[in-house]
Amino acid sequence: MNNRNYNIFFHTHTVSGIVISVILFVIFFAGSFSFFKDDITNWERGETAPISKQINLNYDEALKVLDSTYDLHGRKITLSQPYNVNNVAAYLEASKDSLASKKGKEGQFLYLNNSTYKTSTYVESYNLGEFIYRLHFLAQIPYPVGYYLSGFIALFFLFAIVTGVLLHWKKIVSSFYVFRPKEKLKTWWTDAHTSLGMLGLPFQFVYAVTGAFFMIKLLMVAPSVQFLYQGDQEKLYKELEYRSDDFPIENKELTKAFSINEMVAATKKNWKDFNISRVEIQNYGDANMHVQVEGEIDYGKKFTGIGKIVYKVATDEVVFKKDPLAQSSYLESVKNILYRIHFGDYGGYGLKIISFILGILSCFVIISGVMIWLVARDKKNMPEKKRRFNEGVVRYYLAICLSMFPVTAFTFIVAKLWYPLGQDNMYAVYFISWLLLSLFFVFKKNNSFTNRFCLLSGSILGFLIPIANGIKTGNWFWITFSNHQFQMCFVDVFWIILSAISLYASFKLKTISKLKKTN
């Protein structure tokens, strides 16, 4: 590689990296915790839910309850189990019947408890897991700003990854093994950045690409619809099999009695290890009522194994059948893989824990990159004004990034003690404490203090999380462990381990800084 290319890669890597760094840190930090979104939700509610994609519901009972409050006649109803929690997502579209009641003409999105059938709106069931998950794609910034911002950050992250690899191409193998902790600070940060960056490279590449796809796919979809599908968006979604066939309403009363439970059971019986994950009912109570029962084979048995059966209720006829065990098409596989590899939900807790570690490791790579940027510019020949500016940038960056750890731990405690906290209060607790703590560090003007304080306070607050849970609910982690309430126990134990590690790190830091002073 010639010198010119090397310096161009170097410069573009530096500039793109420093621009995205803070937001990327927020995305990775919150994203790492989001692997345990469902556990956090269950922990906050003090509940345990089966860890499965399968919908656990008495459909007939649930629909009876929904019908009495929302008048289901003529509606399209979609039931799914997006998270491993004790409620099912129910999407009720407005009735197609022109004579439908006023209630029936209103669309609804609800969560339905799968044993009590109590419904709650999205806002009513807002929780800490949801908050952290949404923070990870900046959804708290009003749509579409937050989405596009996080999407473009992902895109430029991909750019930074590729230029970073090109930059190190010549020494990619040798620098992976280099670590010189006794050398000057600059080498320390550089060695850490390159070897850990290499280690996380495949992981980060996948997250950058899929993240960009999730958030800014409209940039790909819009021109495709415009130029390839003559402006007809439905055509594109049909072709990519995102839409199921629509059945028209006949406006005649269905005379036959039906049971969704039986259709679901009949579908499930067809294939081994098949879990029902989605039930879609069209034209409820109409002569042309259709029920589509959809599911997936266990990921361990077949990675992409989506199957479904569509029944026409009036005649008990199977209108459509898709075998999940038949070879999956390229289209189906890509659609599934894009999500699975980002969510990391196909390999149990082992995969989630590894993904969490790699996510936090990426946070470290981001911070070390920022530190290289600072240390490399902290030279005698740099103008004083510029050096002060650089120092200020890093001070703000570290204050914002590192304070996320104690703030997150703090919000866990508040969410537990004042359960249910609700969406507005959760925003207030998290964002105000984040702002105050960041400002404190900015005015304190001591980066190593920021670092140690965050590790120590995060660790202390982290240890308090299981204690707060135990005192408030009596669900001490040894009790939940012996009761097999895995998700609740997991969050407590997870925080204890995390706190122990950060406590150890904070003491280590102390001894290092003491050593440096005596030297």
Binding site: N7, S224, L228, A376
Partner: protein, 100 residues
């Protein structure tokens, strides 16, 4: 040590040209390339492939634009390529029109 400024673009106009060519030009080429392919080959498969390859190609083209000697020249090349792919797209649509 920061990158050696000897090798970096100093002129503001050139910088502007390279940055816009990277972000906008790269986007236009990546999209038109995929759409042209989709109009001739298996449309659904190309469209879903674009979900990831669209972004990867875009980023690759960004890097190429920064490596270019002349920012306006790379803009010209990217525009030319986009027009070429758009031409292929319209031809493709005439030969293989979308039927419902």
């Amino acid at each position: 040590m920061p990158a050696n400024p000897k090798y970096l673009t100093k002129s503001k106009g050139q910088r502007f040209a390279k940055i816009t060519a990277a972000i906008l030009g790269g986007y236009l080429v990546s999209i038109s390339f995929h759409l042209a392919l989709a109009s001739w080959f298996d449309r659904a498969n190309i469209m879903i492939t674009m979900a990831f390859s669209g972004f990867i190609l875009w980023v690759a083209l960004m890097i190429v634009a920064f490596l270019a000697k002349n920012g306006w020249k790379i803009w010209l090349i990217y525009l030319g390529l986009s027009l070429f792919f758009l031409g292929l797209l319209f031809l493709g649509q005439n030969y293989n029109p979308i039927t419902n």
